[in-house]
């Protein structure tokens, strides 16, 4: 069965520092991978997605993620964090782009930003 693991429940970084949020998945084939962000009181918003091709994908708000098949990982990065990035981040996996409704979400990582 597919699963997604986000090993860090909370991460705190200083404003301006770099950020990396970890995501590991369990799936037999190459899945379709997503990162969503949920700000307090808001719905989830898609940051970026990986279907195929270049393993480094760019997203909105200056985020990027790298797919590493050998490590079954899809870590999210940002070179310089802004206070407005404080939110909860969810990694998700789907078995195929035509099956995106079968999204399986990780349990999320809450990002706190120190001034």
């Amino acid at each position: 069965a597919q699963s997604v693991t986000q090993p860090d429940i909370h991460i705190t970084v200083s404003e301006g520092a770099s950020l990396e949020l970890r995501c590991n998945y369990s799936y037999g084939a190459t899945p379709y991978l997503f990162w969503y962000v949920q700000s307090p009181g808001q719905g989830l918003q898609l940051l970026l997605k990986y279907f195929s091709g270049d393993t480094l994908v760019q997203g909105i708000k200056g985020f990027e993620a790298e797919f590493k098949r050998s490590q079954s990982s899809f870590n999210l990065r940002k070179p310089s964090v802004h206070w407005s990035d404080a939110a909860e981040y969810f990694c998700a996996v789907a078995p195929g782009v035509d099956s995106s409704y079968k999204l399986i979400f990780g349990s999320g990582t809450r990002l706190l930003v120190r001034p």
Binding site: V4, I9, Y32, F34, Y36, G41, Q42, G43, L44, Q45, L46, K49, F51, F90, A92, A94, G96, V97, D98, S99, S100, Y101, K102, L103, I104, F105, G106, S107, G108
Partner: protein, 115 residues
């Protein structure tokens, strides 16, 4: 363009009472989803509609939960009777078609507290 609209945003009820949540998807989106998000967890799919047809309701607890999407636009999710364990956020999402771009657009959610 208006996003996915959900109401009510918050609902507090006593156990054994009924409750209903309403969702208006983005105009033109044929696929509508209801997700359950427990505290500290990622969303989990309850039911998916393609137009007015429920094509995946395998995760919907049918003894107390029901949903409908009349005319293939708005949708209602009902719980009757509610139990303490139903306290959670109920998220509605929509997409153009299942997997058309891999992007789901989420509403802000309806937070249910059962006392």
């Amino acid at each position: 363009e208006a996003g996915v609209v959900q109401s009510p945003r918050y609902k507090i009820i006593e156990k054994k009472q009924p409750v209903a949540f309403w969702c208006n998807p983005i105009s033109g989106h044929n696929t509508l989803y209801w997700y359950l998000q427990n505290l500290g967890q990622g969303p989990e799919l309850l039911i998916r509609y393609e137009n007015e047809e429920a094509v995946d309701d395998s995760q919907l607890p049918k003894d107390r939960f029901s949903a409908e999407r009349l005319k293939g636009v708005d949708s209602t999710l009902k719980i009757q009777p509610a139990e303490l364990g139903d306290s959670a956020v109920y998220l509605c999402a929509s997409s153009l078609a299942a997997g058309s771009t891999g992007e789901l657009f989420f509403g802000e959610g309806s937070r249910l507290t059962v006392l």
